[in-house]
Symmetry: C2
Subunit: 145 residues, 2 copies
């Protein structure tokens, strides 16, 4: 059914639900599973508006990349425990939806499985979440879980 499945993973409950569904689909399709954790590039401008000021702002990107890597590795391990053999974890910085869609193009992804906020209401539709943006921008099928 699918060759290359992508799960954007941010460690949320919705992302974990998506990961479990993606693992089922990957096993049924004998597909490669890519886990992608996107972190935001640290902006000095935003930091200047924040109440929290890092002591060493130059290292903030490294710290965030390292945290993102932990999150992605956790997802990779969850997928392996669920029985997926071909799983790889990736970390990228950038704007979430555009980074996910760009990754999908680069890696010949034919299915993105992404968690929703799961509100199941008009709110969910209005929030303009990452899953909605990815669904609108991606050129491959997107499953919102």
């Amino acid at each position: 059914m699918f060759d290359n499945i992508l799960v954007p993973f941010d460690g949320s409950v919705g992302a974990e639900r998506a990961l479990r569904k993606a693992a089922e689909l990957a096993k049924a399709s004998d597909a490669n599973l890519c886990v992608l954790t996107v972190f935001r590039h640290h902006s000095m401008l935003e930091a200047s508006f924040s109440m929290v000021r890092p002591n060493d702002p130059g290292n903030m990107d490294d710290i965030m990349r390292s945290a993102a890597r932990d999150v992605a590795e956790t997802a990779k391990n969850l997928a392996k425990e669920a029985g997926v053999e071909k799983v790889r974890a990736f970390v990228k910085s950038g704007h979430a939806s555009r980074t996910i869609v760009g990754f999908a193009k680069e890696h010949d992804i034919d299915l993105i499985v992404i968690g929703s906020r799961g509100l199941g209401s008009v709110e969910g539709y209005l929030l303009g979440s990452v899953s909605h943006k990815v669904t609108g921008l991606a050129r491959c099928p997107v499953m919102v879980v």
Copy 2:
């Protein structure tokens, strides 16, 4: 993976693409496949703004229901040709996204597979299409194809 898969089908190219993907998923899951064609209730108010006036407006709903039934049956036959054994066709009148989400609840649907307009651009995101509304409103996973 799934027990009851729903494909909203309006006869468009996107809907046919979604149907083919749903057929693959139904076969892999040995799931029931429901095809649903939604037509709009004929509104006399709208008709009064239209250049085209039916001779017998009272029958417009019957005519639209009959056309919708043909569309749904076409989808059912396509699914059968694709090897799906457990497939049923349904027709309902109403607002597309709300009718689809309501049907999903009533029929214990655990996956909706729906066609996008396939623009794959910012336009796709901005258009506020039926697939976006369904993704935001549904309580089950939604695959936008």
